[in-house]
């Protein structure tokens, strides 16, 4: 390809390490507001802990609302990172090389964000550690039959493994940065983080092997995590939750939303840091095709849910879906359908797939649509359970909105720090797809 001819090993280092230059005014202009919103979210949380969960909009029978929506949303976002780095690695899809680092960073930060919500949503968050099986004087353990405990294990495993995976990928790049930077504190930091990487054949030998195993582990993990999250719902008996389709449906939705977020994040980065030579239109084309696929799966799930509800002949089940499309929350339902199924349709045209602006706009709608998908599944199902006497309508309060905004700020805060501290494009792996420098080729 044409642009690759202009890229050399040295230029890759130059271009990518240049991104770590001193933060500009623009960066600060983005970063300080995120701090502000994180602070506001924190304030909301403290207020909520102090006053009681009632400051959120929860009510009988909607015991889960925006927080769990946020949780599933962020776990979903977290998925494409591992998908892009691990699964596409196993499939040797080269279009992952330029974006996988950003996607992995996104994964780690999204899990970090998601992991907050199960605690935020607790009635007594100061007792959150009771969810872990630690030895205690009460001689009490945890209930391994609870899907929430599966969540605890799945999410913490996912956070650990994706962080390690992220870090392993970074080691050679950190070494490259280490070799470049001059300022003493940064030099020390990168020296420590690089673990003394030297790029010897011995290191590479184990490194490539280990990386493969990580990818092989991360792949079933990523599928399991969102399956487990979906079982939070599917394992219960609530109409609208109790369905076997949830695991694949959630995994597809997670990949869908994650890719959407990757595009949302990479488009501005590519523009600002002039990474057009790295993140190419071909890369976007590849992602867009994946979006088409997952959008199709998600759309299919929306349809088949209705069919199953009707076919089951269970009045509660059928009413639930009838209500989703026509009840008080119908607007949210249709936002979801339009954003997730209708708006991605133009991606079937190659011109759209290779149009950065169009992709960016579509990706934002996907993010919105997928947030509402979770909201619909959680809130609408809960508001119309089995017993009509216990039906109720939930509306979020300012506290929940504040914490949600805070969670986005929290995520972006990490992401902005990441952009300025760690190479956002993999230096070593970019080089792998460049032609190997050989004397013969030169002469």
């Amino acid at each position: 390809m044409s642009e690759q001819n202009t890229l050399t090993y040295a230029r890759v280092n130059d271009d990518i390490i240049r991104m770590l230059d001193k933060p500009t005014f623009k960066w600060w202009a983005l970063f300080l507001p995120t701090l502000l919103f994180v602070g506001f979210g924190l304030f909301c949380f403290i207020y909520q802990v102090y006053t009681g969960l009632g400051v959120a909009g929860y009510r009988h029978p909607v015991f889960w609302g925006v927080y769990i929506t946020d949780f599933v949303f962020w776990v979903g976002i977290a998925h494409s990172g591992t998908l892009i780095s691990a699964i596409l690695f196993l499939f040797r899809a080269n279009f992952r090389m330029s974006i996988y680092r950003i996607a992995e960073g996104m994964t780690v930060f999204a899990v970090l964000t998601a992991g907050l919500f199960p605690i935020i949503h607790l009635g007594r968050p100061w007792n959150f550690y009771w969810l872990f099986p630690y030895p205690n004087q009460r001689e009490l353990w945890v209930n391994f039959k609870s899907p929430l405990l599966w969540d605890v294990f799945a999410v913490s495993t996912y956070l650990t493994v994706s962080s390690v995976f992220f870090f392993i990928g970074l080691i050679p790049d950190i070494a490259a940065v280490r070799d470049r930077v001059k300022e003493v504190p940064r030099k020390i930091m990168y020296s420590v983080l690089s673990l003394g990487w030297k790029g010897s054949n011995w290191e590479w030998l184990h490194y490539t092997r280990a990386y493969l195993f990580f990818a092989a582990f991360a792949t079933p993990l990523v599928l399991s995590v969102h399956s487990v999250v979906s079982w939070d719902f599917a394992m219960s008996n609530l109409p609208g939750w109790h369905t076997t389709i949830f695991a694949p449906y959630f995994v597809a939705g997670a990949i869908f939303s994650g890719l959407g977020m990757v595009i949302t994040l990479t488009v501005p980065i590519r523009k600002i840091f002039h990474l057009e030579d790295y993140i190419t239109l071909d890369n976007y084309d590849g992602m867009a095709k994946l979006i088409m696929l997952t959008s199709g799966i998600v759309g299919y799930a929306y349809g088949i849910e209705f069919f199953m509800a009707w076919y089951s002949g269970v009045p509660a089940e059928w009413y639930q879906f009838y209500y989703r499309a026509t009840g008080e929350y119908a607007l949210f339902y249709w936002i979801m359908v339009v954003c997730n199924v209708v708006i991605p349709l133009p991606l079937w045209f190659k011109r759209v797939r290779r149009n950065i602006l169009a992709l960016f706009i579509i990706s934002i709608f996907i993010n919105i649509g997928m947030w509402f998908e979770r909201f619909n599944i959680i809130v609408i199902s809960l508001s119309r359970g089995f017993d009509p006497a216990a039906w109720g309508i939930y509306t979020p309060s300012w506290v929940e909105i504040g914490i949600t905004v805070g969670s986005f700020a929290w995520f972006f805060m990490f992401f902005l720090i990441f952009l300025k501290t760690l190479p956002s494009v993999s230096i070593a792996e970019m080089k792998e797809i460049l032609p190997v420098p050989k004397k013969e080729a030169k002469t």
């Binding site: 009490l140 609870s146 219960s236 359970g385």
Partner: protein
């Protein structure tokens, strides 16, 4: 008792007096315990063991029915009111109002000491000695001027010793004792006088009938003795040998009572007399009358069915059908009363009902004139009106007000409030700052029934004792003591009373009863026995009565209505607030009204067609205008009311009476005209027509159930009578389960709820609040569906082929204690689990608040503590020390009163035996007047609950989810044939 600066009571002082060992109602979450003090007794009271409850029999005075109660006392505090099984009136059951009497006792807005405005602009606290002196001075002043007859003691119907004392006192002072009851049932007395020559209100025996025809008598709500009649009704209406009694209710609106009827006959307001006569005529005409109509044939022939149908809006075939059923059943009974028949023709209506009973041959044992109600002795409405005019003329110098709130309960047109202003000295004995007390010059707060000695005789056969269960919460004094003390201070009265305390007076007057009672042993034994049983109960022979021939010449008319409006207006008494008395009790405010499930407010019931015509929907506000005034209230669209009628519940709309009652809803009495029943002179409740107009205001209608139908879920199931008689074939089918079924050792606690018996009165709900420290949360929180009730009455309107076109079904929904509970496996920390005795345990202190259990609960019976709810002191004194008080972030729910289970097991263990069937009752079961709830051990095959659970009508709610509930519901019976 000293008070701190804010006027609140110091907890320590209370403890000092009653000597509680330890009493912090600790909260489910606390890090390090604060320094706790243990205050020992100075001198230990006899018979009190800290930690062990004591029970005292007493009598409920929340309404005139006078049910016997047993008050549970722990460490010197009354913590629960239960029905007294010995009482012949309520036989162990109680109603919501009775349960809530505790919140009157501990009401934070009680008058905490005597108040006076003699030397001040406003009422100011003063000591008892000063207060009594002030009263003595006034009396002596008045006597000095020689105007002796100008003292009036206005009270409710107080029978028994206090009534006698007041009578004697007034006699000595030359004053007058007027007994005012809001619902005095004068037309009923008058009608009985006309029909039988007895000016009394009889007792009824609904349980002996198999066909009950009620004309407006809301006996499940407020009529005469609701707990007793609900109990009788459930016996009559419950399933016995595959048959059920039939109940037809005639009223312009489907009240709670009507909702429990097999047929609700919507009648044009004020025409019930004609309907009754029309039915009687049909009976006579068809030759079904055992006495052939006696001498009334001529009278009755004036009311042929077609004419009656035309006047009453009741189809002719319905009239003849009722006539047929009424006369063909073995024992039928027609009763009448309640506000909807209390128009200007009320007496005539009730005479007509007597005639109906007569022609059907019912005057006999189901109506008992041998034992008449004491409410018969209340003074007439005319006495009240003449009192008001004397007051207006300045003829009254001192007015004592005792346990009545006439400013609130009398129609505005009577101008009681203005007249009160013309009385120079008004003394209120009320313990609450109600609308009347607010205008008093001297407030001498009375002890509540729970704090004082007394007696009450609701009917001739029952002399019930009231005994203090705890020392007064505030600086209040029993009115009997005040009267005796003041009498001792007034010079001329010296020596009039030999007793110095009311307790002595009471005992002296009971010595007379002892003398009258044969074979009662010595007085002390008699006294002790009476205290233990809650009173002295006699058996009175029933009296035979005969219809007086004068009836034949009576003229029967329709009620007359004042006002030009389009709508008949019914202001109906509430089973939650009675005449407004209950409105200051948060439990009652938060108890969803059975039909609307509305809480904490007022509303007007509007027929859907009318609502459409007026352009209003649920939650919109209507302005109702009568010649006497306007009220604005929220709309509840209800198919159970005639399109030409609007109705508003009495009880709300207080302008005073404490934080829970004040400025809440409207008082419909305000717009009632001063009309009276022409024959009896009693107040005519149904006498106005109002105009209604939509106003530009709309709010959320705060209720606890937003749906009216079951959405095909088959939750409250019914079975037709035909099917019931045929017998239900139970298919024994064991579905393959993934896991083996659970097994139990000694106990599996279970419950059976008979939907045919449940009347939806909500007693169980309030009893549960009282027993289990359930927080009341207020209107704003209920609006967000955050009510904390562990048991709720689900109300569904089902389409039906009866005359009304719909049937109301009630279903008490509480934790089903599922065998395969969906809530249990989802809890990550085992905070909820299945206990070896079949309970679905909920460990509050282990709960971290994921709320997954509630999401997964099929029945949605789990409640979450969104905040740490507080009980304003001293309401928190009522908290049951045997039940944890839950704090924020914790799930809670019914566990079948596990504290009672544990307590009984503990007692059984003392004796080395197992808990036997019926040894204890859970709170809801205990309260239920209809005896619809049965609790017990399912492992014991002989237990009542085991047998009921295997009844043909038994089913599990939402059984298809395979939750294996521990509660079996018994299907309601729809009477597809008469």
């Amino acid at each position: 008792m000293s008070k701190d600066k804010k006027g609140g009571l110091k907890r320590r002082d209370f403890l000092k007096i009653i000597g509680v060992a330890t009493g912090t109602a600790a909260v489910a979450s606390s890090c390090s315990p604060p320094v706790e003090q243990i205050i020992p007794y100075v001198i230990p009271p006899e018979g009190i063991i800290p930690g062990v409850p004591n029970y005292y029999a007493s009598t409920c005075r929340e309404c005139p029915a006078g049910c016997g109660v047993i008050v549970k006392n722990r460490e010197g505090r009354a913590i629960k009111i239960e029905g007294n099984p010995e009482s012949p009136i309520n036989s162990g059951s109680s109603c919501a109002m009775g349960q809530a009497a505790l919140q009157g006792l501990y009401n934070p807005d009680r008058v905490r000491s005597p108040l006076s405005n003699i030397d001040a602009e406003k009422l100011r606290p003063l000591g008892w000695a000063d207060a009594e002196k002030a009263l003595t001075q006034k009396i002596e002043e008045l006597r000095g001027t020689g105007k002796t007859g100008n003292i009036v003691f206005l009270s409710n119907n107080i029978t028994g010793s206090l009534g006698n004392l007041v009578d004697q006192w007034m006699e000595a002072l030359g004053g007058k004792h007027i007994q005012y009851e809001t619902y005095a049932h004068e037309p009923l007395k008058e009608a009985n006088k006309i029909s039988f020559g007895i000016e009394k209100i009889p007792t009824y025996h609904i349980e002996k009938t198999d066909y009950l025809l009620s004309f407006g008598a809301d006996f499940i709500e407020t009529w005469l003795s609701p707990v007793e009649y609900t109990k009788q009704f459930s016996q009559m209406h419950g399933v016995k040998d595959k048959s059920v009694g039939r109940f037809v209710h005639v009223e312009p609106r489907a009240s709670l009572t009507a909702s429990n009827a097999d047929e609700w006959i919507s009648v044009k307001p004020g025409t019930e007399a004609i309907l009754a006569l029309g039915i009687a005529n049909e009976i006579v005409k068809s030759g079904n009358s055992p006495n052939g109509g006696g001498g009334l044939r001529g009278l009755l022939s004036q009311y042929p069915a077609d004419k009656a149908s035309e006047i009453t809006d009741v189809p002719q075939e319905v009239i003849s059908q009722i006539a047929k059923e009424f006369s063909s059943r073995k024992r039928s009974l027609a009763i009448g009363g309640g506000v909807s028949v209390t128009g200007t023709n009320a007496t005539e209506t009730l005479v007509a009902i007597n005639i109906l009973n007569y022609v059907a041959g019912n005057i006999g044992d189901t109506v008992d004139f041998g034992d008449t109600l004491s409410i018969s002795t209340a003074d007439s409405f005319q006495d009240i009106t003449s009192l008001v005019s004397s007051m207006e003329n300045g003829d009254i110098d001192i007015l004592f007000v005792y346990d009545v709130n006439p400013v609130f309960t009398l129609p505005k047109q009577l101008n009681f409030k203005e007249a009160l202003g013309k009385v120079p000295f008004v003394v209120s004995f009320s313990s609450f700052m109600d609308e009347t007390t607010e205008l008093a010059n001297l407030v001498l707060p009375n002890n509540t029934t729970i704090e004082s000695w007394g007696d009450y005789s609701p009917r001739e056969s029952v002399h019930a004792l009231i005994q203090p269960v705890m020392s007064p919460v505030f600086n209040t004094k029993s009115t009997g003591d005040v009267i005796l003390s003041v009498s001792g201070q007034v010079e001329e009265l010296n020596g009039k009373f030999t007793q110095t305390t009311f307790y002595d007076y009471l005992q002296d007057s009971w010595k007379e009863k002892w003398a009258g009672a044969s074979g009662a042993g010595d007085f002390d034994t008699f006294w002790k026995q009476s205290l233990e049983k809650g009173g002295y109960y006699k058996d009175l022979p029933s009296k035979t009565v005969s219809v007086s021939p004068a009836v034949a010449s009576l003229k029967f008319s329709e009620a007359e209505f004042i006002g030009e409006g389009d709508f008949y207006f019914i202001a109906y008494p509430s089973y939650k607030y009675y005449d407004g008395k209950g409105a200051n009790k948060p439990w009652l405010q938060e108890l969803p009204e059975a039909i609307t499930t509305g809480v904490w407010s007022s509303w007007v019931e509007v027929h859907p067609d009318t609502a459409k015509k007026l352009g209003v929907e649920l939650g919109d506000f209507l302005s109702l205008e009568s010649p006497q005034g306007v009220i604005e209230t929220q709309v509840y669209v209800y198919q159970g009311i005639r399109p030409d009628t609007l109705s508003v519940m009495i009880g709300q709309g207080h302008t005073s009476y404490g934080r829970y009652a004040k400025d809440r809803g409207v008082n419909p009495i305000d717009i009632l005209p001063l009309a009276t029943d022409t024959k009896s002179g009693g107040f005519a409740w149904l006498s106005t027509k109002v105009s209604a107009a939509k106003i530009n205001k709309s709010e959320q209608f705060v209720q606890t159930q937003y749906t009216t139908t079951q959405h095909d879920r088959d939750i409250a199931q019914a079975i037709s009578l035909t099917e019931l008689e045929k017998g239900i074939h139970h298919e024994e089918h064991h579905e393959a389960d993934f896991y083996p079924p659970r097994e139990y050792d000694r106990y599996r606690w279970g419950m059976a709820i008979d939907l045919q018996k449940c009347v939806g009165c909500g007693s169980c709900v309030t009893a549960c609040y009282a027993e289990n420290n359930i927080a009341f949360v207020g209107k704003e929180m209920v609006a967000k569906r955050r009510d904390m009730a562990w048991i709720r009455i689900e109300r569904y309107f089902e389409e039906s082929n009866n005359n009304a076109g719909f049937q109301t079904r009630f279903l008490p929904m509480l934790c089903q204690q599922c065998g395969n509970a969906p809530c249990e496996p989802v809890c990550p920390v085992y905070a909820t689990y299945h206990n070896p005795e079949g309970l679905n345990g909920m460990v509050y202190n282990r709960c971290v608040g994921t709320r997954y259990c509630a999401n997964n609960c099929t029945y949605k019976v789990r409640k979450f503590n969104w905040f740490t709810y507080k009980w304003p002191e001293p309401l928190d004194w009522q908290l049951n020390p045997d039940v944890s008080v839950r704090s924020k972030g914790v799930m809670e729910k019914c566990t079948f009163c596990v504290q009672r289970i544990n307590h009984s097991k503990d007692l059984a263990k003392d004796e080395g035996r197992d808990v036997s069937d019926g040894e204890f009752k859970v709170a809801c079961e205990q309260a239920c007047p209809a005896e619809a709830i049965v609790f017990g051990n399912l492992e014991d095959k002989e237990s009542k609950v085991s047998k009921q659970s295997h009844d043909d009508r038994g089913y599990n709610v939402l059984a298809e989810i395979n939750t294996q509930p521990g509660i079996t519901y018994l299907k309601k019976v729809t009477q597809d044939k008469a």
